[in-house]
């Protein structure tokens, strides 16, 4: 047998068996000294890294990796030498199925080891951590009293090997994990059989009633829709009023952020799902590096779809620091962001976890603000949501209207919901979780195309709370009409899915969450698609009636309904315009003020998207209408 060299690829023939006793580090040189001695880093670099270690408490290897002084291979080769163990390259040697079959794959992620083979009572194990009693106990617990021979390998290799060898299991868990946990919490099926048949019976009853009493039926439906509309307007007004309180009170102050001790900061996992976004990977790396958080305590998982070779190639070419891990998501349906995130969640080792989209530009102190918020909140605080806004607000009509809408939503509505302790449907990105609670909640629903909103509601119905932080992530507003409709139809469809999922057991929902939360959910999540769907029809009828003075629709508008309809039309639109104006004033987007008056036109686009969403809910319920990013002509713009 050839002697094993620490960083030569090991094969079956080159493995040098080691005693099963743990290597001792009492007489070993330190990692830093070894790296200096081998000429990988300089004395100055070591001193710098030790200073950082003093401040942050991070491991030296992690600091050197995060700051780009060494590569993974250099680090783990050095560690192999340091620990007196051979190095094994898992890209060259695959674990034998018999060796790993008995283990739960998550054990490998948690304890950073991977059995390679079992022969004659000897187990060969690759590890990225110094072998320790816990690891040995885990192995023996599963395999019995065996001899263990350790090899050193990188954590990346372990993750990749686990993903490769447990591909089906991980995919199954990422896809159906929530469904297996509780089928009624998953949008795997749009409707349950009971919901489906109840809906059909309700429709048949409606048709029958319409047959016998057509005009009273239509009038009654009109009344119901108008009352629902009015309720929605009143609800939004109350929530926005409550949200206005945050104009004077900040959830997290700068002083609180400054007071954080970096040593106490935990590891933070950042999930970045990327799909067909090769053009913005460079920018993504740049944006993530601006975060004010010790890089050695960041675990950035770039979630790349297996078949998206172009983006994978672009990501490699971006040459990101070694704190960034590429997670290749196996290609299988449904190809959705939440499924990728679930795989990321499987690998995540951070105490906290956040999702950013590829084009996001989070404010640098956002992670720290989230840490402060979590520490200020109680144990039930599962998530905090940062505000979203757009960096290309002034690009065209669509981006202006989008900015108005987001400003109102994140600056008034979400704070209002938070203040009134109502469920908060999370926004697509910049939602920060306690990782353990996220796992308890079952992660994201891969069949729900607004998995974030669904998760927020699920958290609320499971007794957890969602808070907000006064930090903003700047995104790219959709500036192209069809792209906008695609994105908006996905959101509306997701709201429909979320409503249907959480209404599968209305009584249970009320019992678990209470009337307040349930009604808040209904008005916010259920009411949104309904108002979009009905608004176009109502406006058409109302305007036709006003303009042509026809009596065709008189029967629909007896006096009482007429007044409600007038209130909806005039006060409802007026109120939305007013709230949008307030929001842009708060953000100091004064140039957008006149555009608030065009809000009703923007609503027409919403209605069109809602009808598309309804059709897709039936025909392709879990289809993820991918929004194209990176098409803005505005690269940098000061938001305010």
């Amino acid at each position: 047998m050839a002697p094993s060299t620490p960083c030569a690829s090991s094969s079956q023939e080159t493995i040098t068996p080691l005693p099963s006793a743990l290597p001792s580090d009492e007489t070993e040189p330190r990692l830093g000294e070894l790296l200096v001695a081998e000429g990988i880093i300089s004395e100055e670099t070591l001193q710098y890294a030790l200073d950082v270690q003093q401040r942050t408490g991070a491991r030296l290897g992690q600091i050197l990796l995060a700051r780009g002084f060494i590569t993974h291979k250099q680090l783990f080769c050095a560690l192999a030498k340091l620990w007196g163990l051979p190095f094994v390259d898992l890209t060259q040697r695959s674990p034998e199925p018999d060796a790993i079959r008995a283990f739960d794959p998550y054990t490998f992620i948690e304890y950073h080891f991977l059995p390679l083979s079992i022969q004659n009572g000897v187990v060969e194990v690759a590890t990225s951590e110094r072998p320790n009693p816990q690891t040995i106990a885990q192995i023996k617990n599963i395999l019995g009293d065996v001899d263990i021979r350790f090899f050193v390998t990188s954590d990346w290799d372990i993750d990749r090997a686990v993903l490769t060898n447990f591909r089906e299991v991980i995919l199954d868990t990422a896809t159906y994990g929530l469904y297996y946990r509780d089928p009624d919490e998953s949008a795997y099926t749009v409707l349950t059989p009971i919901q489906f048949f109840s809906a059909i019976i309700a429709i048949l009853i409606l048709i029958t009633v319409f047959f016998f009493w057509p005009i009273p039926t239509l009038t009654f439906l009109n009344l119901i829709i108008n009352i629902g509309f009015l309720g929605s307007i009143v609800f939004k007004f109350i929530v926005a009023l409550a949200g206005a309180k945050y104009e004077t009170a900040e959830p997290v102050t700068k002083e609180e952020v400054d007071a954080l001790d970096e040593e106490s900061l935990p590891v933070y996992t950042i999930l970045v799902p990327v799909y067909q976004e090769a053009n913005i990977v460079d920018k993504l790396m740049e944006n993530l590096l601006t975060l004010d958080y010790p890089p050695e305590k960041l675990e950035i998982l770039l979630l790349l779809e297996e078949n998206d070779t172009e983006t994978i190639q672009a990501a490699r070419q971006a040459n990101p620091p070694d704190t960034v891990s590429f997670v290749i998501i196996p290609d299988s349906p449904p190809k959705t962001k939440p499924k990728a995130c679930n795989v990321g969640l499987f690998l995540a080792s951070g105490e906290y976890l956040v999702i950013f989209d590829a084009e996001d530009r989070p404010e640098p102190d956002q992670l720290k603000k989230a840490i402060v918020a979590f520490r200020k909140g109680d144990e039930s605080l599962a998530c905090v949501q940062a505000a979203l806004n757009y960096f290309n607000a002034y690009e065209n009509f669509l981006t202006k209207m989008f900015t108005l809408e987001y400003s109102y939503w994140f600056d008034y509505m979400l704070p209002g919901l938070d203040r009134l302790q109502l469920p908060i449907p999370l926004g697509g990105t910049s939602n920060h979780f306690r990782t353990n609670i996220l796992r308890q909640l079952g992660g994201w629903d891969p069949f729900n195309v607004t998995e974030d909103a669904d998760l927020g509601i699920r958290a609320a119905t499971n007794g957890y709370t969602v808070g907000i932080i006064n930090a903003t992530t700047y995104e790219e507003a959709n500036n192209e009409l069809y792209n906008w409709i695609r994105q908006r139809s996905r959101w509306v469809k997701g709201y429909m899915q979320t409503t249907l999922v959480h209404l599968r057991h209305p009584v249970r929902l009320i019992k678990k969450s209470g009337w307040r939360t349930s009604m808040g959910f209904l008005f916010l999540v259920g009411g949104t698609p309904l108002t979009f769907l009905s608004s176009l029809l109502l406006w058409f009828v109302f305007l036709f009636w006003i303009v042509f003075r026809t009596k065709l629709f008189d029967f629909l508008f007896p006096t009482g309904i007429l007044y409600v309809s007038m209130i909806n039309f005039l006060i409802g639109n007026g109120l939305m315009i007013y709230l949008n104006m307030l929001a842009v004033v708060k953000r100091r987007y004064y140039r957008l003020l006149p555009y608030a008056l065009l809000n009703p036109i923007y609503w027409i686009l919403h209605a069109i998207a809602a009808y598309k969403a309804l059709w897709q809910l039936i025909t392709r319920p879990s289809y993820w209408e991918k929004t194209t990013h990176g098409i803005s002509q505005v690269s940098e713009q000061t938001p305010t």
Binding site: D172, Y179, P193, F196, F211, I215, K551, P621
Partner: protein
């Protein structure tokens, strides 16, 4: 033990007796209370008895139902303010019933006059009211109508129990408040004809009784009679019309309806038509048996005539006596004259007391307020004049006032002055030329339907028949001439030239009628093109309209799914003045009960049909669409199910 058993038996018998008694009492619901009180209106008389002038008298003949004895006359005595003194006398033939003096302070007094001394002549109670009044006003003043005394809201109390009819001839009493016509729930044309005949002839016979009404009820599904709780059962009758094989008219004594006499007419379509004509009319009284089989009767044809005796128009009196202004009003409708009148003349004859020297008397005729004739009386004592009535004064309902003005010698109208008396000759008559004025409007009904008219149903239902009965009854209420409706099949009615009443469900069946307004969305514009009225939803209204079709007057009643013919008829009958309330030629009833009356023909307005609306489309096609939509929904559901409800995934 035996005693105990006996006590138990007695107890059981007592309980059973009590139950039986209570049942028998329940069965007797509607039995008359004693004393029995009936207002004069319900007896077919007026709301009051008024005597006007210094000397006045009037005769009243009260029909007393068999088995009842009049005991008391009640009412409220009222005097005109100018009366200073006088007295009133009530007689029954030569028997003085009551006499009492009045003076200026007498008014608003409750009267209670015993009638035990009155003389019944068969079932007639004759009463004569005589008054002599002094007043502060001069009765010779031409503008003064004279002092008056009246008994307001008179009522008669009776003792006894009305006798239930034993024979067919006794079935219809002199006083009747309600008749319930019963047919099968899906009547035949023969039954419809019989019901409508009965409605017309009964209303004609009891037209003086304001309270009289005719109702319709269907037989139960099992053919049994409907149970009707009626407190006024003794003054009600039920007539059951069955088209069958047995030619029979009989009085029924059904246990559950023992308080309401029942007559059943049974036979072929033609036989029940004849029975319906025979049974109510005067010939029916000849039926002195409980059951009459194989009745053969042919009603005599109405003959054309151009003269109508004043007698037929029932003037309140033929004689006047007194001083000052003395009047005989005669009210009648064109229908009372036998049809739509084109020209009208009056021959009026009579006599009067020769005038004493120095006295003056004149006779003036007023037609609907306009003077048409005047003459001065001399010592001759007779008058006989022919007067042509100007067409412009002729209305549907008319009032002829024959006014005598008498001033005694010296111009003093005192009680001791020589009185004046005038009498009309009962041979006085109107001459009539009939003719129809166009366009036809509601005010031309019912006279335009004389002497006979046709009724046709596009598809005969019970509610349609009920509507026809209500309307025919209403027309007969307002005319003295008997109506002769003929129920004919739909196609026959369309090709006939007789006036017709058409009741239609399906608006497409009126396509050939050229009705001004169809049961489809339309709007009405004025001369300037301004929209006056718009009906977008045909299901939301029904209509009655009259127009000329086939050169004959036609009344079309078009129903919709939400407005039945019954609802249209009821709405018409319940108008404040019934049929008289209808104006113009179009009457719309919405499903909310709102009504619209318009003059569409030559009314300066334009009817513009509207394009099909969703509502009209729905109304037209819904019967077909409903199952199709249900099927479509089920198909869509089958298509949706695998897409929306997914089977559970297979676990790895």
């Amino acid at each position: 033990m035996k005693i105990k058993s006996l006590v138990r038996l007695c107890f059981v018998i007592a309980v059973l007796s009590a139950v039986m008694l209570s049942w028998s009492q329940n069965d007797a619901v509607g039995a008359p209370t004693t004393p029995h009180e009936i207002s004069w209106q319900d007896l077919g008389l007026g709301e009051r008895v008024r005597l006007q002038g210094s000397v006045a008298s009037t005769d009243v003949f009260l029909h007393i139902p068999s088995g009842l004895t009049p005991t008391l006359l009640t009412g409220k005595l009222q005097l005109s303010p100018d009366v200073t003194s006088g007295f009133m006398e009530i007689r029954s033939r030569d028997q003085l019933i009551a006499t009492f003096a009045v003076d200026a302070g007498t008014s608003n007094i409750d009267l209670m006059i015993p009638l035990k001394n009155s003389k019944l002549e068969g079932d007639i109670l004759p009463l004569t009211f005589i008054a002599r009044l002094r007043s502060i006003d001069d009765v010779c003043t031409t503008t003064y109508a004279g002092a008056w005394i009246e008994i307001e809201d008179p009522k008669i109390q009776f003792e006894g129990t009305p006798q239930a009819p034993q024979t067919v001839g006794e079935f219809f009493p002199s006083i009747l408040h309600k008749v319930i016509l019963v047919t099968s729930s899906q009547p035949t044309l023969g039954e419809a004809q019989a019901a409508i005949n009965l409605a017309a002839s009964l209303r004609h016979r009891y037209r003086h009784i304001g309270k009289f009404q005719i109702k319709m009820r269907p037989l139960n599904k099992d053919g049994a009679l409907p149970i009707i709780a009626d407190e006024d059962a003794l003054f009600s009758r039920m007539i059951v019309i069955r088209e069958g094989e047995t030619n029979r008219v009989r009085v029924l004594h059904e246990g559950r309806h023992q308080n309401m006499p029942i007559l059943e007419i049974n036979g072929s379509a033609e036989e029940i038509r004849e029975q319906s004509l025979w049974v109510v009319d005067r010939w029916g009284t000849a039926g002195q048996a409980e059951e009459i089989n194989n009745l053969a009767f042919t009603a005599p044809q109405e003959t054309y005539r151009d003269k109508v005796l004043l007698l037929e128009l029932e003037p309140p009196t033929w004689n006047v006596a007194g001083m000052g202004k003395l009047e005989i009003p005669v009210t009648f409708s064109q229908g009372d004259l036998g049809g739509p009148v084109d020209r009208l003349g009056l021959r009026l004859a009579g006599h009067y007391t020769p005038l004493p020297s120095g006295a003056q008397a004149t006779m003036s005729l007023f037609f609907n307020g306009g003077m048409i004739f005047a003459t001065t009386f001399d010592r001759d004592g007779d008058f006989d004049h022919f007067v042509t009535i100007p067409n412009n004064l002729l209305q549907r309902d008319n009032k002829l006032t024959i006014q005598f003005l008498y001033t005694p010698a010296g111009g003093k109208c005192t009680l001791d002055a020589h009185p004046f008396e005038a009498s009309l000759n009962k041979g006085s008559y109107f001459t009539v030329e009939f003719g129809v004025q166009k366009p036809i409007r509601f005010l031309h009904y019912p006279q335009i339907l004389l002497p006979s008219f046709q009724i046709a149903f596009s598809s005969l239902t019970f509610t349609d028949l009920n509507a026809a009965v209500s309307i025919v009854s209403e027309w007969q209420r307002i005319t003295r001439s008997p109506l002769h409706p003929q129920v004919v099949p739909w196609d026959q009615a369309l090709s006939s030239n007789q006036p017709a009443v058409l009741i239609v469900h399906d608006s497409t069946q009126t396509d050939n009628l050229a009705a001004p307004v169809r049961l489809e969305p339309f709007r009405i514009l004025d001369n300037q093109g301004k929209e006056l009225l718009r009906f977008d939803t045909p299901v939301a209204f029904g209509l009655a309209e009259t127009f000329t079709y086939n050169d004959r007057p036609t009344l079309l009643i078009a129903t919709s799914p939400t407005v039945s013919a019954e609802k249209i008829a009821t709405t018409i009958v319940e108008q404040p003045d019934g049929w008289y309330s209808l104006q113009g030629d179009l009457f719309l009833v919405t499903d909310e009960g709102k009504t619209v009356m318009l003059q569409v023909q030559e009314g300066g307005i334009t009817i513009e049909p509207l394009a099909q609306t969703p509502q009209s489309w729905h109304s037209k096609w819904r019967l077909l669409l409903y199952p199709l939509i249900l099927l479509l929904i089920l198909l869509i559901a089958a298509w949706l199910h695998p897409r929306l409800v997914r089977p559970a995934p297979k676990k790895q």
